[in-house]
């Protein structure tokens, strides 16, 4: 029998072992951090989605904050 660690690595194996409630709570914590950092709730444009509208205006952040933005980037 294959161990989850051997197939997907320790992080995924740990995620798989959690109960649904534990995953829900972990996801909620990540969401709280993301929002505290100014993350936007607007879905990223997905050009593969049938609902993608290239002419749609991007919605601003609801609380008026600019959301996350890159302030330094590597060479690639």
């Amino acid at each position: 029998m294959i161990d989850p660690e051997d197939l997907v690595g320790p992080e995924w194996a740990e995620w798989y072992r959690m109960t649904p409630q534990e995953r829900w709570d972990a996801s909620a914590r990540m969401w709280a951090d993301y929002l505290a950092l100014g993350g936007s709730l607007d879905p990223e444009p997905d050009s593969q989605s049938p609902f993608f509208d290239p002419d749609a205006p991007g919605a601003g952040a609801v609380d008026g904050r600019p959301g996350l933005r890159v302030i330094r980037r590597g060479g690639v």
Partner: protein
Amino acid sequence: MGGQACVLYGAAEFSRDTDLAILAAAENLQRLQNALAELQGERIAVPPFELRYLEMGLAVHFRCRLAECAGMRIDIMAKMRGVAPFADLWARRTTIESDQSSLDLLSLPDLVQAKKTQRDKDWPVITRLVEASYFHQRLKPTPSLAEFWLRELRTPQLLIDVASEHAAQAHALSGQRAAVAAALGGYQALATVAREVQAEQDREREADRQYWRPLKKELERLRREARSE
């Protein structure tokens, strides 16, 4: 039925919206309209929130303005390609209870089916969903679980293991899924299983593109109409 359901079932998606599969019926739409009004939900794109568009298979998109959920997106659908009618989905739904509330989710097989889209990002999620099911329940497999894994596993090594552990079921399904037929060849056939799994994905994605072609035309028509108003 979207990212939140995936998290609960064992995959992980950083989905920024909440996707709801609903019964497309006039009285149900009215109830939903009332609930959206409580959340100060505003429709943010075409199509309009009407029965005929939901029955067509289009999604209706809302953004909430109520302070407690400000900015949250809610997408509503009633029909998805290759997915059973709502009455069946409801009958076999999963209900998860927490301290504060209960959540009704698409059953795992229905969620997997709903994820078979043309988008790159949905396919790794399917892989994770079925892997999570297998690792969680492989020590207490039922015939229906084994059939689900044989039909949906996308991880070649695991499909080979399941085909070996449930050989009779694998033989019975081998005519319906080429990847299962290949998996019966064991680890020597690993590359063939991987090729067959990829070929399935390519076929499903193409089928999804074909399914959406007329619907995208309808969306474009509605957008033109909305912009000219």
